[in-house]
Each structure stands twice: as structure tokens, then as C-alpha cells.
């Protein structure tokens, strides 16, 4: 088991700890609604040190990554990243990855839970002129999330941070150490992530908290991201990707370059595209709870799907969920029946995603 470099801090500050893959870190600091409010209205700080970090280099690195990922790696310029999928030959998913292009090498980032599986897959498909190094333990990762998150790097790095685009990254010096600051995030809010040498993680964490005090920064656990991600229909790799799920079933078509010459899983993806996926992941809302994962969904007496993931949205005051539904019925704007845990049937509404514009996006649009 690996412990976050912030382990002692989390313990001292009464955080709840949980294993993510093989990595122990803070899952919760405060009541859920307080952490949710920080992310949606203000700014939260989250220890994401457990994320998997794999450095890929070598003569044919771009060609190779382009082969193992569904997206187009050749279109990624230095200082930018792409969010894409790594598939098996049958089109099922190994991991969703964020790939940063840093001159002649790449940094592949994914969830802590995917570390072993992704490394095994990369090594199985490795070519001679590509080097793969797992540097997960060499760096901590601190994320700041929320409509006011942009203020933190402005304070501790520079005002110039405003020009860093979504999916962009840069090398910065803070105090006496180097770090990578990248913009990513699946909540619809500003999110800045600092990749920092492991031994400097606590120093940076304290510096961010000190600077964020005037903004009212809130320490949040990693689980605080779950509902904001769900509201945006962002895929939770642990909950939403079932072993047989494919990018088309997850409606992640935008992660695929259908026209590049080859990638692992291309034949399966094109075949599924031509016939149409048999099921799709759709979003639903329900005013009432009383259901759970795997509860079945019906239209009249026909079973057409099941719940994979759900939670309560404090903003909308409804239950929000994701369900796999037979493709012929996988459309927003309809109502279906969900068999609740007490065997009664609830009417749920299939809805369009993302559910709303976040304060961050509204702020950007209003200039």
C-alpha cells in the first residue's frame, strides 16, 4: 500500500482516508454538502497524489501512443494535452487517459485504480524504441477546483496564468522547486492541478492553503468530485465503465479519431459504429430515491436497461444517475420506469447532459 505524501497532514486534520487502487489518501474532510459547495461556488483543494503518472519517451513515441490510444496524438502540440481512451482489440476500455506532450516525451495520467492494468497493457504492447517509466511515486498531485480556483495560481505563480488554456500545461518554479501546472477537470469548473516532487507536496499544499485563506478555500476529499462529475456526465472510470463497455456505448465518440490509419481496437469500434452499439449510457433524474445500482429499467413490461451509478445533486435537488439503456430507447426527453429497491416502480426522466452551465462557464461567457 502507498500512502500519500500528505498522509500525516490528513490524519492530523481528521480526514477520512480510503484506498484508491493501492493508494491511501483523503476521501472526505467535511460534510458532503460543504465540499460540494466549495467546488461549485468557491474553491476546494484536493490531494490527488495517487493518480497514475507514466512517462513515455523514445524515438517512436508519438507513433506508438497514436497506436495505443483512440485519439489523434499527432494533433497534440507541446504544452497541450488530450483526453482520450486506451482500448483493447475488442473495443472495451483499459483506461481513460490524459496525455501531456512535453517536447519529445509524454506524460500519461489516469486514476490510481488504473495503475496496474494500464502499465501491464502498455508493456504488453510496447515496441523496442519506446521507453515506459512509472513515475507515480515521484510526484504528488494537488488539485484546486471551483469557480475561484483561478485565483490561486495567479497568487502563487503569476497573473499570466490567465492565458493557460483548458488542457494546457506549463513548467513553473514555486519556492525552490519545479512543478507542472496543468488545466484539466471533469466538473465544469476551473481546475488546476500541480504535479510536484513528492517531498515538496506538503510545502505546496500549505502554501496554497495559506494563499487561499482569503478566498475561503476548503480542504476536500477525493470523493467530493463524484457528484459534480456526475452532473456533467463525466465518466467515472470505476463506476461507469463496465467490463464490456465501449467508447461508443459511453457516448465518448469524441475521444476517437475514426479516420487515423490504425489503433488498437479500431476494427471493433468501426464494426460497432456500422451496426450501432446495442446499449448506451444515458443520464436520468428522479425526484425520488429508493433505488440503487443494478436496479432494472423498463418500458411497459420490457426490460431495457439498468442503473450503473447515481447520487444526489444538491444544486438541482434531485437524484441524478447514469444507466445503460438499449440504444433504441437511449434518448433524452422521455420517461421510463425504474424498479425501486422496494419493488415499486418509479418514473424517471432521461435528460440531456451536461445538466447545467457551471458558475465557471457563466463567468467566462460574461467575460
Amino acid at each position: 500500500m502507498n500512502k500519500t505524501p500528505l498522509y500525516e497532514f490528513h490524519l492530523k486534520n481528521n480526514a477520512e482516508l480510503k484506498l484508491y487502487g493501492d493508494f491511501l489518501t483523503a476521501s472526505k474532510y467535511n460534510e458532503f454538502e460543504q465540499e460540494y459547495r466549495a467546488i461549485r461556488k468557491n474553491v476546494g483543494i484536493i490531494d490527488m497524489s495517487g493518480i497514475t503518472k507514466i512517462k513515455i519517451s523514445g524515438e517512436s513515441v508519438t507513433e506508438w501512443l497514436n497506436y495505443v490510444c483512440t485519439g489523434n496524438i499527432f494533433s497534440v502540440s507541446d504544452g497541450k494535452s488530450v483526453y482520450t481512451a486506451v482500448c483493447k482489440e475488442d473495443g472495451t476500455i483499459v483506461a481513460l487517459v490524459n496525455i501531456l506532450k512535453d517536447n519529445d516525451e509524454y506524460l500519461v495520467l489516469t486514476d490510481a485504480e488504473k495503475r496496474v492494468e494500464l502499465l501491464e497493457w502498455f508493456n504488453k504492447n510496447k515496441q523496442n524504441n519506446v521507453q515506459i517509466s512509472d513515475i507515480s511515486d515521484d510526484y504528488g498531485c494537488i488539485s484546486i477546483v471551483g469557480p475561484k480556483a483561478i485565483e490561486i495560481p495567479k497568487m502563487i505563480i503569476s497573473e499570466d496564468i490567465l492565458s493557460l488554456p483548458y488542457l494546457g500545461f506549463e513548467h513553473d518554479k514555486i519556492n525552490d522547486f519545479e512543478c507542472i501546472l496543468y488545466r484539466f477537470g471533469l466538473t465544469g469548473e476551473y481546475e488546476y492541478r500541480f504535479l510536484v516532487p513528492t517531498e515538496k507536496t506538503l510545502e505546496l499544499w500549505n502554501k496554497i492553503i495559506d494563499n487561499g485563506k482569503e478566498l475561503g478555500i476548503v480542504c476536500c476529499g477525493l470523493d467530493s468530485l463524484e457528484i459534480p462529475m456526475l452532473e456533467m456526465n463525466s465518466i467515472n472510470q470505476q463506476k461507469d465503465i463496465l467490463p464490456y463497455a465501449t467508447v461508443l456505448q459511453l457516448q465518448l465518440n469524441w475521444m476517437v479519431d475514426f479516420y487515423k490509419e490504425k489503433f488498437i481496437g479500431k476494427e471493433a469500434v468501426l464494426k460497432e459504429k456500422s451496426y450501432g452499439p446495442i446499449r448506451k449510457l444515458v443520464m436520468f433524474i428522479s425526484e425520488e430515491g429508493g433505488f440503487k445500482e443494478n436496479n432494472k429499467i423498463y418500458i411497459e413490461d420490457e426490460e431495457i436497461g439498468f442503473v450503473v451509478h447515481y447520487g444526489y445533486s444538491p444544486k438541482l435537488k434531485v437524484f441524478v444517475g447514469l444507466a445503460y439503456i438499449k440504444t433504441e430507447y437511449a434518448y433524452s426527453g422521455i420517461s421510463l420506469e425504474l424498479q425501486s429497491s422496494t419493488d415499486s416502480k418509479l418514473v424517471i426522466d432521461i435528460v440531456s447532459a451536461p445538466l447545467f452551465l457551471t458558475d465557471t462557464v457563466k463567468g467566462i461567457k460574461e467575460g
Binding site: 465518440n253 428522479s286 418500458i299 434518448y331 433524452s332 422521455i334 420517461s335 440531456s352 447532459a353 451536461p354
Partner: protein, 105 residues
């Protein structure tokens, strides 16, 4: 409070057919107006338009607005811009206008 109305297959199928028509038109506007290197079938209904997903920018947004206004003969206000989150949310907006009789397919 529990929703207890009965869901009938025929009603659902009618709604789906109508949405399919709108989704198809919206996707065609995206592909043609923005010269996307994609076919209509390759765009998922819930594809985000900005940020991740199709990664459009503000100029693309204006192109889509003009395309939607021309195709459906409606005018889109600044307030309506919040519906430009995904293909599906644009379809919601058109279908709502259809229900009010403000749009014809």
C-alpha cells in the same frame, strides 16, 4: 413526491422519432457549418460542444447559432446561449419551441 404516471411505449417512441429528426438536423449543421471531419453518425448526442468533446470555440458558437436560426427559422437571444452545452441540449431547446408551435420541422 413520487411520479406515478404510466409510461406508454407508443408515446415514448413518438418522442424519440421527433428527437431523432432534430438531432439529425443539428448534427448536420455542426458538420456542414464547422466543416468537421466527422459524419453525423459519429457525433454522440451527449457530446459536449466546448472544453472536452467537440472542443469548439466562440467563433464556432456563432456559426452554430446562425445555422440553427436559419434551419429552424427562429432567433436566438443571449439568454438562450446556455442551451449550447451539447447536441442534446440544443435539441431540447428546439423541441421545446416545437411544442409551443414556434418551430416547424
Amino acid at each position: 413526491m413520487s411520479k406515478t404516471q404510466t409510461v406508454t411505449k407508443s408515446e415514448v417512441i413518438n418522442k424519440i422519432e421527433q428527437r431523432k429528426k432534430v438531432l439529425d438536423k443539428v448534427k448536420k449543421i455542426l458538420v456542414e457549418r464547422l466543416r468537421l471531419n466527422l459524419s453525423v453518425e459519429e457525433i454522440a448526442d451527449n457530446s459536449p460542444l466546448f472544453g472536452l468533446g467537440l472542443q469548439l470555440d466562440s467563433i464556432d458558437a456563432l456559426e452554430i447559432v446562425v445555422g440553427i436560426e436559419q434551419e429552424f427559422k427562429i432567433s436566438i437571444t443571449d439568454e438562450d446561449m446556455q442551451v449550447f452545452r451539447s447536441v442534446n441540449t440544443i435539441a431540447d431547446f428546439i423541441l421545446e419551441k416545437l411544442e409551443k408551435g414556434e418551430v416547424k420541422l
